[in-house]
Symmetry: C2
Subunit: 436 residues, 2 copies
């Protein structure tokens, strides 16, 4: 009666990739360097070491193709990885598509999203360099709770500036950060010069990721035992997330599928889509596959579809290095949409570079369209996707509605939306199921 | 760079057991029969058919050892099963134990608990018999949301009576039920005779699972196209949950571990612990293993440790068959503890029988102790367990604190507690980490 293939026991790391994949090794032209905000020269590892531990500063500038995942990080990944790749056959029937849809589902992690893939790595490298405190920003709270979780495992205090719009509308994620032992402030706060300056000019601001970054960076720079941790945008964050795409390729191969035709992911800062798509793009760059990659961004914060590709700061107050990226401008404050994790003015330089080279296309999705896609997924496959992830679903559904091909589609579902259920409530009344 | 063993793609059913295990085939003496509430004679399949579809009525009384899981049910299980078996090495270090701790984690299901294992099966069999509506009760909302999820996949309307204490304190689970298309009422309600009678005698009652069962049963019995679905207690529910224990045994075997010394699970109605432990008990009954099974129940609702083993009704108003079980009496209303899923006056007859035969021991856990166990798990392995599941953790931690043996311990973590984060808040201030 055991005539089935038991899943590998998690914690055994058998289902966890051994290396991260660094796309910087394979781009036909290099990613434009980050520039020092003072000198405007390319930043060095030394420049970055005040903000990050050396190992992460080195990863940020590395062009090594594969970087080994430390044993201890891999062991923590084993708590929830490999994550499921789900053939969504009920969703296919509801959409009336001839394509095969696979969902790569990161919502099974302890905090419910892909964010711990980098948080655990960052906490590890900081602990190795005797850092005892990490500061960070968070939008919806996914990144903040991931870093608080990782900090609790590696004995590091975590202090989080949460964008006010999310701090006020999503109290559960704050409780989660506090459960992991983290400290949470609403941003902008009175605790930093950056925060006080912003509040002075607009005390009613809903906040933004850019503002919260400024506050967290300011505090880290003033404390020699502290460093800053960023949950997206930078190369080393995208690097850590590549476990997602590597697993997906291996899982498809186990099913005898050697190729994905189109890969969809939501893109705010870019770490989720980078992590899912870069291992696929390696096959494209090696001329082994013709996979299309589509970035789904919110219409309320359309950096890829409406922004400029130029150097800009990663934060509101101009404390970070200058990054070459698609940007709406560092002082752009998006509407307080429910997908708080997508409210970022710029886009990861590595992903921006891939877009610039024509390796990745982008579409902007309206919030209502996104939520309706999420409701359809819930009612066909049971999974309640995070508001961020619903953008990828909606982009895929739009694509499939205009295609009669039978393709292999991969959709990154970056997290679950169980803490976002109040956000779904307002969209339920207007929902109409598709005519299949 | 693919030198790792990719997890089986979910949706492929490769990691899902092919059969449910029915412990009724292996008990040395039969489970005492359910009795008809009118005649006090053992119930027949026909008796049960007004309440349940025939296939489930047959399963309720079956003594067949293995019952094949229908292809369609197995396909839905494949969305999230096999669930992880996690070696909790960080938790072991925090506890300072020489034992190996494995967590069987059901929180990765779409609704976040083990409950869909039976909800999906029940919705399937009802759909097969052309039933278009299911009524049910729910405590914390785990079962109600599971049935709403299953109903949405099988085209069945689901109407849920949620215990008032949970309805008021856990709005997110109601939103979840509604997102799946379910209808939710606070119980006791004005919609049923049972509810009106209860409200008349105590309009301030916090409600109980027993009361909510009465309301749901009453509505199902009045509508020929409707049936009732129960999320625990009955034999067929325990049967469906045995995928949990079967997977655990196979996952341990993959790690070269042929035997678990002690298995812990929380027990409210009993379906979670039955599902985890019955496949282990089969090995005990075959004299192949000496596994101890420990039921962890809340001190506020101690049916196994303080109740009587006798015939009692499953509901408050006396509409269900009489069940031989450990019970606190059908009119027992437990305090509104956070673990709403454990607030049931009785205990599954099959599990009660196992306790009566000495195959399962029971301990009662105070709520504060349980939450502190949950906080420790969150801070060591990242997983935030459901308040129900924290009882199993606390029971295991107590056991390990008084044992210097090096054993293999399995703890069932029946669900995640992300929708219960406000409940954790009050216990955080008094939490002290163990001295490891």
């Amino acid at each position: 009666m055991s005539a089935y293939e038991a899943a590998p026991a998690a914690g055994s790391t058998a289902a966890v990739p051994t290396h991260w994949y660094n796309i910087a090794a394979d781009f036909p032209e290099p990613i434009p360097p980050h520039l020092h905000p003072g000198t405007k020269e390319p930043v060095t590892v030394e420049d970055l070491c005040g903000l990050f531990p050396r190992a992460l500063a080195e990863q940020e500038l590395s062009t090594e193709r594969y970087i080994q995942i430390p044993r201890e990080v891999r062991s923590v990944y084993g708590i929830w990885r490999g994550t499921p790749l789900i053939r969504a056959s009920r969703l296919e029937r509801a959409l009336g598509t001839a394509s095969q849809i696979f969902l790569k589902y990161e919502g099974v992690s302890p905090v419910g999203s892909h964010k711990p893939n980098s948080a655990v790595a960052q906490a590890y490298y900081n602990r190795e360099e005797a850092i005892t405190k990490l500061t960070t920003e968070t939008g919806a709270g996914q990144w903040g709770s991931s870093l608080a979780f990782a900090g609790s495992l590696f004995g590091i205090d975590v202090e989080v500036w949460q964008v006010r719009a999310s701090y006020e509308s999503k109290p559960y994620r704050r409780y989660l950060m506090e459960l992991y032992g983290g400290t949470v402030h609403s941003s902008p706060s009175e605790l930093t010069e950056a925060g006080r300056a912003i509040l002075e000019s607009d005390s009613e601001t809903t906040g933004s990721l850019g503002m919260a970054v400024s506050e967290a960076v300011e505090v880290a720079l003033k404390d020699p035992a502290a460093r800053y941790a960023l949950g997206s945008v930078l190369n080393h964050v995208a690097l850590h997330q590549t476990v997602i795409g590597q697993e997906t390729i291996a899982q498809l191969a186990r099913l005898g599928i050697g190729h994905a035709d189109v890969v969809f992911g939501c893109a705010g800062g870019g770490s989720n889509l980078a992590g899912l798509s870069f291992p696929f793009l390696r096959e494209v760059l090696m001329n082994k596959a013709k996979t299309r990659v589509i970035a789904a961004e919110p219409a309320a914060c359309p950096s890829l579809t409406q922004g400029e590709y130029r150097y800009d700061f990663g934060d509101f107050s101009g404390m970070t290095p200058l990054l070459k990226m698609y940007t709406l401008g560092k002082d752009f404050v998006p509407d307080p949409i429910h997908a708080g994790g997508l409210r970022y003015h710029g886009m990861a330089p590595a992903l921006s570079h891939a877009v610039h080279l024509g390796l990745v296309d982008a579409v902007a999705i309206e919030q209502t369209t996104a939520f309706h896609a999420g409701i359809l997924l819930a009612r066909t496959e049971g999974i309640v996707p995070a508001p961020e992830s619903t953008h990828a679903l909606a982009a895929a559904f739009q694509y499939l509605a205009h295609s009669d091909r039978a393709e292999t589609i991969v959709i990154g579902v970056s997290g679950h939306g169980q803490l976002d259920l109040p956000s779904y409530q307002g969209f339920l009344e207007s929902y109409q199921p598709p005519v299949g």
